[in-house]
């Protein structure tokens, strides 16, 4: 996370202001530090202060990753849908880049959620995967839809067409989040229902509850930090493409000018 800087060209108004040579800034460094501190607390509470559960034993420690990752994945996907809708309305770069960043991070976190769920399912249910279970299969479908979103973003196409296609896929994919969330209540499922926001009272207490909330905070801070960096990478990519395109156009113009000049000499 080193941040190399170089001075702006002499003679410009911004001579004294250093220009970032990476996607880091003072803000992201502070946020990154906060994320690290929060991660240390989460690890301490997950492995030291939180004891093995009476029923679940040490597998409860898998839930400190599984529950926060899925919640923050949903959050990323909802931001993605909002940014996608805003892009279709305004057609500006900012919402498109935000959608690209949150879509990619969302699918990554959801993939880890599925993996953590499988690791929890094997010792608890006796199986890594149950195809007949609505929560598991609908989550996999959501994951595949966002994988499709990321794929469409990376297929070479005119920028406007790519952005529009991916925005539409992002909005459609987000429509699946609510059915996935409610699947344990709408249909019978091996997967347990709500733990924290259960009607009545929370089913988790003490150090276990704190470890879970600490996990939420850590993954939220991490996702925010990562979104900023991923956003800047997308922005830099667009700038690099535009700069290179400008250079190619300038070369072609120079070549065309030289040819015209050459023909003029013949005549």
């Amino acid at each position: 996370m080193t941040d190399q800087t170089s001075a702006a060209p002499a003679g410009t108004a911004d001579t004294a202001k250093p220009v970032a040579m990476s996607t880091s800034s003072r803000g992201t460094k502070a946020l990154g530090l906060l994320t690290l501190v929060s991660a240390v607390f989460t690890i301490l509470y997950s492995f030291w202060f939180s004891k093995a559960d009476v029923e679940l034993g040490n597998t409860v420690r898998i839930l400190y990753v599984h529950v926060p990752t899925v919640s923050i994945a949903y959050l990323c996907m909802l931001v993605n849908a909002g940014a996608s809708a805003f892009y279709l309305w305004k057609r500006t770069a900012f919402p498109d880049l935000l959608a690209a960043a949150t879509g990619e991070i969302g699918v990554l976190l959801l993939g880890l959620t599925i993996l953590a769920g499988m690791m929890w399912g094997k010792p608890t249910w006796g199986t890594f995967w149950e195809w007949g279970d609505p929560r598991l299969t609908s989550t996999l479908l959501l994951f595949l839809m966002y994988l499709g979103y990321v794929t469409v973003r990376n297929i070479p196409a005119p920028r406007s067409a790519r952005n529009t296609r991916s925005a539409v896929i992002g909005i459609i994919s987000a429509l699946l989040i609510y059915p996935v969330k409610m699947s344990t209540e709408w249909w019978g499922s091996l997967h347990q229902g709500r733990t924290i926001s259960a009607p009545g009272a929370s089913k988790i207490h003490g150090a276990q509850e704190f470890a879970l909330y600490s996990g939420f905070l850590t993954f939220m801070l991490f996702a925010a930090w990562l979104t900023i960096h991923r956003f800047r990478v997308g922005w830099l990519q667009d700038q690099a493409d535009a700069t290179e395109l400008d250079a190619v156009i300038a070369d072609r113009r120079a070549e065309a000018g030289a040819e015209q000049f050459g023909l003029g000499e013949v005549h």
């Binding site: 410009t12 034993g57 690791m119 990562l226 960096h229």
Partner: protein, 52 residues
Amino acid sequence: MIAQQIQNGEAWTYVGITWGATAVVLGGYVLLILRRGKALSKRVPEDKRRWM
């Protein structure tokens, strides 16, 4: 009881895989993003490298 079925050693294996995979995948992605950012910064003129 489920707790009796979940042997301690077996549970720790799955806990280790979950936390280890999470750290490796997210750490790898972070490295990828930071490296891409650095590489792209070199291709973009200085006046276009400032953040919005």
